[in-house]
Amino acid sequence: MFAFQIHTDDNVATALEPIKPGRVLIRGEKLKDEETAIEEIPAGHKISLSTIQPGDDIIKYGVVIGKATKVIQEGSWVHLHNIRSVYDERSSHLDTVTGVPKDTRYE
């Protein structure tokens, strides 16, 4: 299983294929060669490379792409359920798996 780190400052890497708990090899501008996934992570989604505290920055491309909303253990799936945008409040209220809005009424 592989994940890609885009910048050396990043605390997340992107899964290049569906990841199951276990050993993940890191490619790209990496500081370590591998990470241990502690849960399933879909392809294209992010895995944490360290334990991240609530309110801490999520770094990808060497820049802040959001803030943690809870403790994110190293090797976890990083997405809508545990990080939020600093700008777009609505996105952290979308369905975690499908991204579909839950705040629009269909009636």
């Binding site: 392809a43 990808k60 820049v63 792409i65 996105s91 991204g99």
Partner: protein, 410 residues
């Protein structure tokens, strides 16, 4: 020879620019004359003859500026404008600009010619004469420092921000260092990156322009309640607009930004430029910022881009009128599945087979071959899409007027 010193033959233009193609542009000036103009192009069926036009009868300064920028474009050697006869946009005025630029030019009104057949026949004979005339266009040496290149992305997936846009960004750094001009756009897709973008401004004026342009785009996004990020993006693994934005902005590379270009404005000097395609505040909120990928490509070409990059994850087939389009994907499956349309496979960096720098250099080699005359995939398939909408824009980038700052300075 080293790539940075590569030279090839271009087409010399009166305004001092050099083109990498020598195209005949047939322009319709209203929807009513589109069919005749299209017939002229289709019946000649030459790779160097292509159609653009504006559908509206009521003219729009933005659209007219855009047409003029294409007429002045260095890849264009000749222009035929085709009007109906009662529209606002003036084909004769457009043809006159082409002549002033030292280009072959002609124009006609369908109402004066007397209908479809006569107009098509006259147009065909006019284009054939111009095709002959531009064969003797003077050739002149050019290199990367003469090139203007534009980039945008569409149909993105997670590979776009990891490989496709990264390849463009790293190549843009080379192009900048080699004295060329690089343009990136989609400011509405840079939401969340105000400080990052502003800090890259090459001068106080550039930082002001970037900040104004960013804040205008943010207001626009707020007013339409749309942050250019969709359920499909989230399902694909993007978690925030900042993350998506950075995946798009990475294609600008890492060099300082000289300033902001508006649509149809050419860069005053080489370097890296941000193109603002967002409508300016106006009494009827004129236009949508980025209706489709071809509008984005047309905007870049209007700023003088000799060739354009379209980075895609899911795949795309479009090309563009006036300037060749190089389609790049970081998704290996997409490349294999749509190889007849995709020009460049950037996925090797994700496989760990090459570094970002090696990837960018192989893109530079493709740019050189294309500039030398090798057709891109979309050119060879006769894709020549264009899109010119109604929009409102000021002619130049504005800056934020800050009373407080003036007070501090005093």
């Amino acid at each position: 020879m080293e790539l940075k010193n590569a030279r090839w033959l271009g087409y010399e233009r009166k305004n001092g620019k050099k083109g990498i193609r020598n195209r005949v542009l047939v322009i319709y000036t209203v929807k009513c004359s589109e069919f005749v103009a299209r017939q002229i192009v289709d019946r000649i069926a030459g790779a160097d003859v292509e159609l653009v036009g504006f559908d509206g009868c009521t003219d729009n300064q933005y659209a007219v500026n855009l047409l003029i920028s294409l007429i002045r474009h260095p890849n264009v050697g000749a222009v035929l404008t085709v009007g109906l006869g009662c529209e606002y946009v003036q084909p004769e005025r457009l043809a006159r600009i082409a002549k002033e630029e030292g280009k072959e030019a002609d124009w006609l009104f369908i109402q004066e010619e007397g209908g479809t057949r006569r107009s098509v026949e006259k147009g065909i004979s006019s284009v054939r004469k111009m095709q002959e005339a531009i064969k003797s266009a003077r050739r002149v040496e050019m290199g990367f420092s003469d090139l203007v290149i534009g980039a945008e992305c569409g149909g993105s997936d997670y590979t776009s921000g990891l490989a496709g846009n990264v390849a463009v960004g790293r190549f843009y750094d080379f192009l900048f260092d080699w004295g060329g001009t690089a343009i990136f756009e989609e400011i509405v897709e840079a939401i969340g990156l105000e400080n990052f973008l502003v800090s890259r401004g090459a001068s106080e004026a550039a930082r002001n322009e970037i900040q104004y342009t960013y804040r205008k785009a943010l207001e626009y996004c707020k007013s339409v309640r749309q942050y250019s990020v969709s359920p499909g993006n989230f399902a694909g693994g993007l978690s925030t607009i900042e993350e998506k934005s950075m995946g798009a902005v990475i294609k600008s590379g890492s060099r300082p930004i000289e300033g902001v270009l508006k649509v149809a404005q050419t860069a005053k000097k080489p370097g890296l430029w941000l193109l603002d395609s967002t409508p300016d505040p106006y009494w009827m909120q004129f236009g949508i910022t980025n209706p489709n990928d071809n509008e984005g490509l047309m905007d870049l070409i209007s700023c003088g881009a000799h060739l354009v990059f379209l980075v895609t994850g899911r795949g795309n087939v479009v090309g563009s009128a006036v300037s060749p389009c190089i389609k790049i994907t970081g998704n290996h499956q997409t490349y294999l599945h749509m190889e007849e349309d995709m020009d460049f496979d950037a996925s090797s960096v994700l496989m760990g087979e090459c570094s970002q720098e090696e990837l960018a250099l192989s893109l530079a080699a493709l740019v050189k071959r294309t500039a030398e005359g090798t057709l891109t995939k979309s050119e060879a398939l006769f894709h020549r899409e264009f899109f010119i909408p109604y929009k409102y824009q000021e002619k130049q980038a504005a800056v934020i007027k800050s009373c407080r700052k003036t007070a501090q300075e005093e």
